[in-house]
């Protein structure tokens, strides 16, 4: 028992950057004032670890306490690792009534029914998010605290975000969530990214959306009236359509979007390919430090023709970044041919 506490503490100290460690420990609040003062965070990590371990033994911290610390760190620094979005479907009549205590109890109960040895920690965070930490074991082994799964669920919404979940445990988590939220199924929302805040904002529409209007946009009026009025008009139009497609201001930081294309190759001048029945299979991946801003930029500057194709605008509009495109998708393909160089 002592060994696993030490290992977990070691891992944490190694993982948490020194600057962040202080705030995390403060938030945790398990150190006495004296211990806090004595801890010198400018020391090298291995010295820090030794000091913390001494305090740990002094305070008789258990594994439970250390997992608390880890959870605080992850909640305060959620933009790490890979997060995947899921959506709950087909609510029962009382799904919208489920509140925190009921959810907590039901979730713990159902998960324990499904997995003999599991350690579950549920914590409500300030912004209506319920955070769950799960350390998985099985019939024969104790929960593994070194590879926990984190789940974030926003009560009264159908959205769930998960990180570090193996395919083995996915059906178990799915079942427990569905039963405790009073929905019928949990499906993959086809949205993933390194920043939880970004995918959450995108999926839950918490960014500046711009809706198409028929009224002249204020941008056009700001333009200099003389000379390049028409060109400016075009540029203003492009900017407007770009913001309609992707959003205004700062956009959620997505890194990638993947399109699996299974459409036919269409070229009237190429008979062989036109006669072909099978789709032209390819995968297109867009990546950038801030994908939505890059795409908006491309649309404004004209690299991407406007109006923006539904395939690209779907990222913001549908809150997804993984798409499988077939010929049956309406609006998936543009009618116009690529301009010849």
């Amino acid at each position: 028992m002592g060994e696993s506490v030490k290992t977990l503490l070691q891992r944490l100290v190694r993982r948490i950057p020194s600057e962040v460690l202080k705030t995390t420990l403060d938030k945790w609040g398990r150190l006495t004032a004296q211990q806090q003062r004595a801890l010198d965070l400018t020391q090298p990590k291995w010295t820090l670890m030794e000091n913390l371990w001494a305090i740990c033994e002094e305070n008789e911290w258990t594994l439970k306490r250390i997992t608390e610390l880890e959870m605080i760190y992850v909640i305060e620094n959620p933009d790490q690792g890979m997060w995947y979005a899921y959506q709950l479907l087909d609510p029962e009549d009382d799904a919208h009534c489920v509140e925190l205590i009921q959810f907590k109890e039901l979730f713990r109960y159902h998960l324990r029914e499904l997995v003999r040895h599991v350690s579950v920690k549920v914590k409500k965070h300030t912004d209506e998010a319920v955070w769950i930490r799960i350390a998985w074991g099985d019939s024969f082994s104790r929960p593994n605290h070194l590879k926990p799964t984190y789940v974030v669920h926003y009560l009264q919404t159908p959205y769930v975000f998960v990180t570090s979940l193996t395919s083995k445990h996915r059906p178990l988590l799915s079942q427990a969530l569905v039963l405790s939220t009073r929905y019928q199924t949990l499906k993959d929302a086809n949205l993933s990214g390194r920043k939880l805040t970004a995918i959450r904002d995108l999926l839950m529409r918490q960014y500046q959306q711009v809706f198409p209007t028929k009224c002249p946009s204020p941008l056009a009026e700001k333009n200099h009236p003389a000379l390049k009025k028409e060109q400016d008009g075009n540029a203003a139009n492009r900017r407007r359509m770009a913001t309609e497609a992707f959003g205004d201001g700062t956009l959620p930081q997505l890194q990638t979007a993947v399109y699996k294309l299974e459409t036919k190759f269409k070229d009237p001048t190429n008979r062989t390919m036109s006669d072909r029945e099978e789709p032209f299979r390819c995968v297109v991946k867009f990546s950038s430090t801030n994908l939505l801003e890059s795409l908006r930029d491309c649309a404004s500057s004209g690299f991407a023709s406007t109006p923006v194709t539904p395939l690209l605008s779907s990222i913001s509009l549908k809150g997804k970044n993984y798409f499988v495109v077939t010929d049956n998708d309406p609006g998936a393909l543009s009618q116009t041919r690529r301009p010849q160089n």
Binding site: D267, T269, T272, M273, C282, V284, T289, E293, R337, R338
Partner: protein, 384 residues
């Protein structure tokens, strides 16, 4: 139709100004690398003069002055190169990523003197270390042993010089008994199917191996290049893989699909934006092949020539059409013209190439075609 003209036309040297040009070249070497004057400086000047003398003769060979990448090349056929080349040596060249450079012809390089070169380069590296030029390779003592070797049988053309392989070994800090020594740095100079006109036009004492591939610590690469420059009066320069060459590789590799599955055709573009957008376009192997063969079919259906030879050669127009078709398919979905971006990288199961000048050959069967293209690129960079 779209014709690509690359490279630069060698300035036809005006004979009256020959002497003036000559001296200016000796003072300012080609890519501003300080070439130390050795005691044999006279021979250096003579060598350059004879080079420029050759250049004046080159005016008479129009094929070379109108310099651009070949617009047509033979379709690569699977070549079991292991029949001609030592498989062990071959294994050192494939499945590794090489950084490319071009190098001007070497003066008085002898394939028979390789042992002596090995000793000389080892001594040079040791001397540079003494001077304070530290080249630390992790996990080693820091004393280096150099080995020069010939990779025989790679080239088919008579005019091509045999490929030279240089390997640098270092004593590991924790030596395992009986473990074969592993090179910490390797490099090779080669010329595969180089333009016979150019090669024959070179004065007698020059050996042309314009393509230089290196892998290992940058410090060692600089040292090796310095030594070559000092010893053989040559110059090195970076060899980027141009847009056209990358497109050639796309077509040449896809063409091999029936004999060796390419598995997929992957292309990476960068589209400019405030935060640059990277587009990775991966086409399923068999589908890429179908598109390519349909492009070839259209071309050959339209042409009148029925000789079988035509089937064997690929024209730049077919390559361009293929790329255009791929970009059109992309445009139909995303309404973004990839031509506005820059093609950075292409890859298939047969190999990968980056515009920054890195190449990896995964399958030795098509090595010769790839190296022929790269040799051509390197020759285009020759200053004369």
């Amino acid at each position: 139709m779209f014709k690509f003209v690359s490279g630069f036309c060698a300035a036809a040297a005006d004979t009256p100004n020959m002497e003036r040009h000559c001296t200016s070249v000796t003072r300012t070497p080609l890519n501003s690398v300080r070439v130390q004057r050795r005691s044999k400086s006279k021979s250096y000047r003579q060598s350059i003069r004879s080079c420029l003398g050759a250049a004046s003769r080159l005016v008479l060979t129009p094929a070379l002055t109108a310099r651009r990448l070949n617009t047509s090349r033979k379709a690569p056929k699977s070549l079991d190169i292991t029949e001609k080349v030592n498989p062990e040596q071959l294994s050192l060249l494939v499945k590794k990523e090489w950084q490319l450079s071009y190098v001007t012809p070497l003066y008085q390089f002898r394939h028979t003197q390789l042992k002596s070169y090995s000793r000389q380069l080892s001594a040079f590296i040791a001397a540079e270390k003494q001077r304070g030029l530290a080249v630390e390779v992790e996990g080693t003592h820091g004393s280096f042993r150099v080995s020069f070797g010939v990779v025989q049988g790679m080239s088919e053309a008579d005019d091509d010089a045999e490929t030279v392989l240089v390997q640098i070994y270092s004593k590991p800090l924790f030596a395992v008994k009986d473990e074969p020594p592993r090179a910490v740095w390797s490099g090779w100079l080669t010329c595969i199917n180089g333009s016979p006109d150019y090669l024959r036009s070179l004065p007698k004492d020059f050996t042309c191996m314009p393509l230089f591939c290196s892998s290992g610590a940058d410090g060692l690469t600089s040292l090796v290049k310095s030594w070559f420059q000092l010893t053989f009066d040559c110059c090195f320069g970076p060899l980027e893989i141009s847009h056209t060459s990358l497109q050639w590789l796309v077509a040449l590799w896809t063409n091999c699909h029936t004999e060796s599955a390419i598995k997929h055709l992957k292309m990476m573009w960068t589209v400019p934006a405030a935060s640059p957008l990277k587009v990775t376009y991966t086409v399923n192997g068999p589908d890429a092949w179908q598109l390519w063969s349909s492009v070839r079919k259209e071309r050959h259906d339209g042409s009148n020539k029925e000789e079988e030879e035509e089937e064997d050669s690929i024209d730049i127009e077919e390559v361009m059409r293929f790329m255009q078709d791929l970009k059109s398919h992309f445009y139909r979905h995303f309404r973004t013209d990839l031509s506005a971006g820059s093609l950075d990288q292409v890859a298939t199961a047969l190999g990968s190439a980056k515009s920054s000048g890195r190449i990896k050959i995964a399958n030795s069967k098509y090595m010769i075609t790839t190296l022929t293209l790269l040799t051509e690129c390197a020759l285009l960079k020759m200053p004369i």
